[in-house]
């Protein structure tokens, strides 16, 4: 296998690394935010160039139809989030919730996280991917605990422990996959390279593969936040800085799910293995229903949307579990739309929490009256996340339900009911948040609405019209996913 020669791809990895080091050293707390955004932007440019150049896969890194969209999406959301984070963090400094020292740490960690996630997406080696995801977990753990409140520490600790166990399980699965591959491909790096694995999967030992998939699903599923492995997710979202909640929901969950997908491709290439579908459908459905009910008992705005993330991860897992070109396509679409929408929601939530000085929904009212731009942004976001047209999520949910109802009526109905219950909860809260007579504090905040509306605009546009190239990639991947 030839050496991997492409400066762009290295840029995607090196820019975050370098800027992380730089940001860790820079004392000035004014420029860092902008620098952070700039670095993310450069990364995004480098990533989007991958639409046009398609380098040869190497033994450690690879760019193929499977990950190109996710890399671009990842870097894009990272960029917009960094823009949002600049305005968010400025406010945190003013209110003194964060000191410059922590700020440096925060930015360095932010870039490290980006590096880790890009690496996980680009990795052509499952061991490398594992290391990258572990690194991402560690950084987010540190970010979640950033505020040092007892609640934040508790959340971070819980996240850390559960994440570590998950990581351990995932590693065992990885080892098993390697073993099953070694017998066919032979020892060495090839036995861990995606492109090789997918090619030779039919000859692998089905039992080892099945066993491996169980561990991988549980291991990376912990990161995805599937019920019953979800326990860390709501606290981590609620207690960390909002930009991190946005990145967690919008990107890290996707990355973990992406890992699961990679392995599912290997699985589905081998006919004799235990069908992964039922497992995924079961966990997905469980997540949707569980989250749907839990949403009715949320009083903290960020926790609520964290649970909605669990719900949507459930939908996506359900779709991939269902399999078939339509459902897989829908799942990929849903991954994209969800990360865009959910991060947009967290952007608005972040500003709202800053303006109102609280995350308790009971004391936030009438936003469309007091802060129209922010309030309507939130309304739009929630409308989109519950799957109301013309936003894109409607399209993916339409495809999931219709395509699965013809095959598994009961499951599709259960999914629909779950969606409906969740919708009920979210809309009920939205009523209180956005409408009625305004209530709650009104601290000044130099919010930047651009990222939020950019995301929503994209979701809206995608709901009406999808670019053919994207469709082509997704259909190809959907085919691979079996």
């Amino acid at each position: 296998m030839n050496a991997f020669e492409d400066p762009l791809v290295y840029a995607i990895l090196l820019v975050p690394m370098a800027s992380a080091a730089l940001l860790a050293l820079l004392p000035d707390d004014r420029a860092t935010g902008r620098l952070n955004a700039l670095a993310s932007f450069v990364t995004f440019l480098a990533a989007s160039s991958l639409f046009f150049v398609r380098p040869e896969p190497g033994s450690f890194l690879i760019v193929d139809d499977v990950n190109v969209v996710f890399i671009v999406l990842n870097t894009f959301v990272a960029f917009t989030t960094s823009v949002f984070s600049a305005s968010y963090i400025a406010h945190e400094l003013e209110t003194g919730r964060l000191t410059p020292a922590y700020l440096r740490f925060y930015h360095a960690m932010y870039q490290t996280l980006m590096f880790a996630m890009n690496l996980a997406l680009l990795a052509n080696n499952m061991g490398l991917m594992w290391v990258a995801i572990e690194l991402a977990t560690l950084t987010t753990v540190l970010m979640v605990g950033l505020y040092r409140t007892p609640a934040a520490l508790e959340a971070a600790w819980k996240y850390f422990i559960l994440g570590s166990v998950g990581i351990a399980l995932a590693l065992f699965g990885t080892i098993l996959v390697y073993l099953s591959a070694r017998a066919v491909v032979g020892e060495g790096l090839d036995a861990m390279a995606w492109n090789v694995l997918v090619k030779n999967a039919p000859a692998f030992d089905p039992h080892l593969l099945s066993l491996a998939f169980v561990f991988l699903l549980l291991g990376y599923g912990t990161k995805v936040g599937l019920v019953p492995l979800h326990a860390w997710l709501p606290d981590a979202h609620a207690e960390g800085p909002t930009p991190i909640s946005a990145v967690l929901s919008g990107l890290l969950l996707n990355v973990a799910l992406f890992a699961v997908l990679r392995f599912k491709m290997v699985m589905s290439a081998n006919a004799a293995t235990l069908a992964p579908g039922p497992l995924m459908v079961g966990m997905g459905l469980a997540s949707v229903l569980f989250a749907a009910f839990m949403l009715h008992r949320q009083y903290d705005i960020k926790r609520m949307f964290a649970y909605s993330s669990i719900e949507h991860m459930g939908i996506i897992t359900f779709a991939f579990g269902m399999g078939g070109p339509l459902a897989n396509f829908a799942g990929l679409l849903h991954m994209t739309y969800h990360s865009l929408t959910k991060s947009a929601i967290f952007f608005s939530v972040g500003h709202i929490a800053q303006i109102k000085g609280t995350q308790r929904m009971a004391s936030i009212r009438g936003l469309t009256v007091s802060h129209p731009v922010l309030g309507w942004g939130l309304v739009l976001g929630v409308m989109s996340i519950v799957g109301l047209p013309p936003m894109g999520i409607f399209m993916s949910e339409f495809l999931v339900i219709t395509s699965s109802f013809a095959r598994q009526p009961a499951l599709a109905v259960a999914l629909g009911v779950g969606l409906l219950i969740a919708l009920g909860a979210l809309l009920l809260r939205l009523n209180g948040l956005a409408f009625g007579d305004p209530e709650g504090g009104d601290a000044p905040s130099h919010a930047s609405y651009v990222p939020m509306y950019a995301h929503l605009g994209l979701v809206l546009a995608a709901g009406v019209f999808l670019p053919p190239a994207m469709v082509a990639w997704f259909r190809y991947v959907a085919g691979l996913l079996g």
Binding site: P228, F293, R297, P389, I401, S403, V471
Partner: protein, 671 residues
Amino acid sequence: MALTVLLSCIGVLLATGIVAVAGAGWKGLASNLVYAAALAAGAVMLSVGLSALAAAPSGAETLDLPVGLPWLGAHFRLDALSAFFLVVVNLGGFTASLYGLGYGNREESPGRVLPFFPAFLAGMNLVVLADDAFTFLLSWEFMSLASWALVMAHHRVHDNARAGYIYLLMASFGTLALLLAFGLLAGPAGGYAFSAIRAAPPSAGLAAAVLALALLGAGSKAGLVPLHVWLPLAHPAAPSHVSALMSGVMTKVAVYGFVRLVFDLAGPPDWWWGALVLLLGGASAVLGVLYALMQHDLKRLLAYHTVENIGIIFIGLGLALAFRANGMGLAAALALTAALLHVFNHSLFKSLLFLGAGAVLGATGERDMERLGGLIRRMPLTAIAFLAGSAAISALPPFNGFVSEWLTFQAILVSPKLPQWLLKFLVPAVGATLALSAALAAGCFVKAFGATFLGRPRGAAAQQAHETDRASLAAMFVLVALCLLAGLVPGVFIDALAPVGQQLLGARLAPQGQFAWFTIVPIEDSRSSYNGLLLIVFIALGAWLAAAVIHRWASHALRRAPAWDCGFPDASPATQYTAGSFAQPIRRVFGSLVFRAYERVSMPAPGRTEPARFHLRLRDLVWDTFYAPVQGIVDFGADHLNKVQTWTIRAYLSLVFGTVVALLMVLAIWH
């Protein structure tokens, strides 16, 4: 060609909405602009629809756009059915916009109305034109969303937020049902285009499921009992011209959805489909009007009447299904014509009534009839319009409401020819409910008109009321004229509907144009016939005769004197009958059965001075039966799952451990 025009009009509407977001700043200008644009677009689309309906037999026109679902695109189709509903939608849109031209200047929060009004119109038009499942549902839900935003326009008013919430929840429920229906029709391969579905109609079992889902989906939007709960909350909450659109037009779009699904896509019906639809229709008709009688909020009363009329429409549709299943083409055409004609008529007089209610609301700021009264003197023109509307909705000849109900009765009278015994017995019973609801509706509108416009003003607001603006009056009187027209020369309208029957059933009524003096003869001359025109002529002649005779010979003396007060002079308007007391006898008759009504009068002992008290408790059985349990289940589940949140990390780890072990066991067994 026609479709291009229509879609560009829709595009204009959407653009207007977006412009309105920007231009919400200057109030008057923006509102005039938006409503003028909506008016123009409505007029154009109305004319297109009419011409398409006229030219319908020449076949359907289709158009594809490269948007929406990739690899499918957005399909649009203009056939007789959609042309007819296009007319209904845009007629309502036209008049509502006309009203809006006047109302717009009174709106206190235009920023929350103007962007969504044209979007709402656009959504309804798109639904009618859509020709694939995705576009259909997208437009359907978009329509719901836009109307939801309009319901929330006055979100600070008490209960409006709740109304909007329940509305959006029920709308999503309906969409889910339709989603599943289309999932069945399209199959796993995903043939979402209606043409593909027509090409491969579902098997009998699937078709039955589709019917059930269509009833849930379209029925919930149309307000079929027991799915109607959101309707009387949401429709009144919106600004009045939007209420007119929602009640008069959007429910009709829902009927369109049902007809499209069941008559066009679901393949040949089974006879019991008709029975099911008939039952639901009959229930809606009676319950709707009974609920309406118990209301004292004018707009809510009107909303409940929408439920009643939807019931009447579905009775017609059910009959059509039953006849079609038995291959009785002509009878089916008759029933369908009756239903569609009632769709048209109801859209007319319900819009009219809501606009009238809006005028009253604008003039007095009151929706509560117990505080109104005597408005016939303060706002005579509105009173005339509202009276005409009331007469029409009470199915009084010579107005249009009577014609469609008369046709429905004629269809019912064909039922003995049905082979199934169940239908034989069911149909006359449903006829009885239809008659009952018609009679009760008359009572209800005597109450509504009497309490609002007649008698003496019950409050200061009613005393200082002023006649509403010109544009609103114009909108109302356009509708009055149409109501009369459709009542006097129904033959013309029946003939206009013929292509729809031709398309859906392959049968049509005898062309009514052939009969002299605009007589309508649905089946045959010796069986039944009706002539509204001559009827009104005779009535006019009779009235004129009496008047002439009297003014020839009688004394013209007229003296104004106080009304007879039994010798207890009391000027207080509180002594007159209120809406509540008017409905009391009927409540005594039906209340205990339908509402579990409970009355208690506490009379002070003789000689005591404290006032007597009257307690009344009504219960909404539909809510208690169908909705409260659902709420209970959700709360139960939420409460119990919620405990998981406060577990310890060790407990969570045990969860993980348990999952691992369980899956390993699965694996071990699978080997």
